[in-house]
Amino acid sequence: MLEIKGLTKHFGGLAALNGLDLNISQGELVALIGPNGAGKTTVFNLITGFLRPTSGKIMFVGVDVTALKPHSVAERGIARTFQTASVFREFTVLQNIMAACQLKPKVGFWEAALHTPSSRNKEKFILNRALEIMQFVGLGGVKDRVAQSLPHGHQRILGIAIALATEPKLLLLDEPLSGMNAEEVNNTKALIHRIWQRGITILLIEHNMGATMSLCQKIAVLNFGNKIAEGPPNQIKQNKEVIQAYLGTVEYAP
Amino acid sequence: MSASALAQSLLNGLVSGGIYILVALGMTLILSITRIVQLAHGEVYMVGAYCVYYLCARAGVNFFVALVISMLLVGGFGILLERFFFRPFREQLLRPLIVCVGLMLFLQNAALVITGGTPKSIPSPFPGVSRILGLTVSWERLIIVLIGLGFVSATLLLIQKTKVGQAMVAISQDREVAALQGINIDHISAIAMFLGSALAAVAGGLVGAMFSVSPFMGGFALMKGIAVIVLGGLGSIPGAVIGGLILGLIDGVIPPLLTTQLAGLVGFGAIILILLLRPQGILGHE
């Protein structure tokens, strides 16, 4: 589904990413791990069009999406979450998700401006979809709370709901579990699993090793912009290079 | 156009350029560190000009000394402005603009009421002309170019070579990171305001000597300052220098060259064309 070939990104003289090759098949749940600064978020930014690669190609369902702008990438079916500023702070939870329902259906300028019956039908549809997504992610109880006032964990989940609103085929999650307590981690893990069961392919960046190992079937490891390993969790756990890369960092917890 | 006329135009262009750079450099320092568009910068320039006028024409102080005193006074004034009018609205977009308009109104009309409004002239400190390379050049213009050059160079050196200057660069690039590295944003903001306002005062004094001093002279300076920072690069200090030079030379050379109606617009027109292709200016970052 997602084919990355030779993806490279240089910032000035620094190579943030060096010739990454990665393939993700439909229906997989893949993790991208590595120490801080390894280039993981850069990969996300490149896939979703927020950064232009120095060289390399990204193919999605057979289409070259390398040079597309982020909104076009979203139209193609790739959605993502963000680590910081992951929600629309001044909107309520429901407004957040409704604002994110931009693609299916698309509401045109004139029908929206003139409040035509067709646009009102679309809005009803969008409202129902938003409510459904809200329930699905477990935020049903805080429908009218302003996003800013939510605890951190809920905000991250709202970020996931926002991404789901685009009905993606591929979902990129940027550290979905960071800053969460044990209970929130479990809930979010379950949510990710539910999303995956709905048939959405998932690529996630995470530092929480325990959760990553138990969720994913395949893990790719980056270090200093290079992929140093790829394989199922138990293989990665024992990979010498991976252990070395993490040695000296506090992140590694088997 | 004859060679000597061209040379004269170039010199005029350099003089204009020098003034533009002084104003724009000050605005850029203030903008990149306090994130505020100092719309009252023209009025600060005007206050500097009046300081020099009163010291020179009324108190008989030597021009250079007056310039320095004016710098210190106006710089101090800038620090007060930052502390009481800008700091409360840090990180905001609209309110600082309104504050600047209030200051602008206040200063313009205070000057009008206090001085009566008729333009005054600062007696020329350097009368006479000299002959250089077969051209007749007024001492005044020459020395003003040198003074301008001097202050600009001093400022650039300060930014490059001192800790304070480096702190300014750090803040202008990334405020949060700079704060995390222990840089005292409040102190540096005050210094930036001091420097920026002082440079404006120098520009005002020089223009007052070349032309005249009036309560509304600031509008022109603000307009040119904005044009320069937009051309040279928003938030870029070297950009202010390059932009000022380019605009000064265009303004010096084009109008005498083309006597059409629109000659005065060529400078601004060129800038707009550049902006359509590169909105962040020559050296700006988006």
Partner: protein, 326 residues
């Protein structure tokens, strides 16, 4: 919202609008009508500025955009003899076309940088007006602009725009239409999208919003109304000169918006209403008026963060505090 409250609100607005239509019959004093006309102009300007702000951009080119509209109407009517009504619409179109033309490169800039470049845009427009004498009449401008074409409905209506009253109704209808359109947009998905861009533009982009397109859209629509009101202005004052529309003008429009409150639709309306009145009231102070105005600006900025719309809430809080401490 309950049906009864909705009904009361609608009736309230209806009564207000009726009252506005009756004002020229209550007072025929031309100066009072002039103030109301200026209020109408400023309401349109401040509200359209807020529309642009809703998409996360502060435009300080509104003075210049109004100038474009004013000059377009003046030139079309005086030099090409076009009907003043057509000229009015074309005034709006001219400004919004310019906004669209420079829009895509300009909206790549964010926050204060966009504001600065719009300052520059406004300045260029004024400068062009001053320098291109053969077209615009230079600093003096265009004089003796004819009155708007009369509206005659035999037996019912004869507006020849010889009196302030006719202009009052002209701007009243223009303002009501503008507010209707803006209100319709305010409650549509378009404003939801704009506001999502305002809060987190990369997030909006990631859910499929073509943020550049929407920003240019907001800028163009906002500038349309600035141009429209510029056209009206040229037909009302019948003289256009460049300096009227300088940077200070654009900032005053921003002040009306901020003073009234940017968060609510009614904010700019209140701000324009109260501040226009304020300025006129204090005109008698002559050379001290700018000081008073500057002082008022400072008061608003320091003590009214939410603008006038936030005043009831603030007073309520203050009152509550006093009562609980009593």
């Amino acid at each position: 919202m309950s049906k009864r409250i909705e009904l009361t609100k609608t009736l309230g607005y209806g009564a207000l609008i009726l009252f506005l239509f009756l004002i020229p019959l209550i007072t025929e004093e031309p100066y009072t009508l002039h103030i109301f006309i200026m209020i109408g102009i400023n309401i349109i300007l401040a509200s359209s500025l807020r529309l642009i702000l809703n998409s996360g951009q502060l435009s300080l080119a509104h003075g210049g955009m109004m100038a474009i509209g004013a000059y377009t109407s003046a030139l079309l009517v005086t030099k090409l003899g076009i009907s003043s009504w057509t000229a009015l619409v074309l005034s709006g179109a001219a400004s919004s076309s310019l906004a669209f033309f420079v829009g895509f490169p300009f909206v790549r800039l964010k926050g204060i940088y966009f504001a600065i470049i719009t300052i520059f845009l406004g300045q260029i427009i004024i400068l062009t007006g001053e320098q291109w004498e053969s077209l615009t009449g230079g600093s003096v401008g265009i004089l003796n602009i004819p009155r708007p074409d009369p509206i005659v409905i035999p037996g019912l209506l004869n507006m020849n725009f010889g009196s302030k009253m006719d202009f009052y109704y002209f701007i009243l209808i223009l303002t009501l239409i503008t507010l209707l359109i803006l209100y319709g947009l305010e409650n549509s998905r378009i404003t939801l999208t704009w506001r999502s861009i305002q809060q987190a533009d990369f997030l909006a982009e990631s859910v499929g919003v073509h943020t550049a397109k929407f920003k240019v859209l907001a800028f163009s629509i906002g500038c349309f109304f600035a141009g429209l009101v510029g056209g009206f202005y040229s037909q009302y004052v019948r003289v256009v000169s460049p300096r009227t529309f300088d940077l200070s003008f654009a900032i005053y429009v921003m002040v009306y918006m901020v003073a009234g409150g940017m968060g609510r639709f009614s904010g700019p309306i209140l701000g324009a209403f109260f501040l226009t009145g304020f300025i006129e009231l204090f005109r008698v102070l002559k050379e001290f008026q700018p000081f008073v105005f500057a002082g008022a600006l400072m008061l608003i900025v320091f003590f009214l963060p939410d603008g006038l719309v936030g005043l009831p809430k603030r007073l309520w809080k203050l009152l509550n505090m006093k009562l609980t401490h009593a």
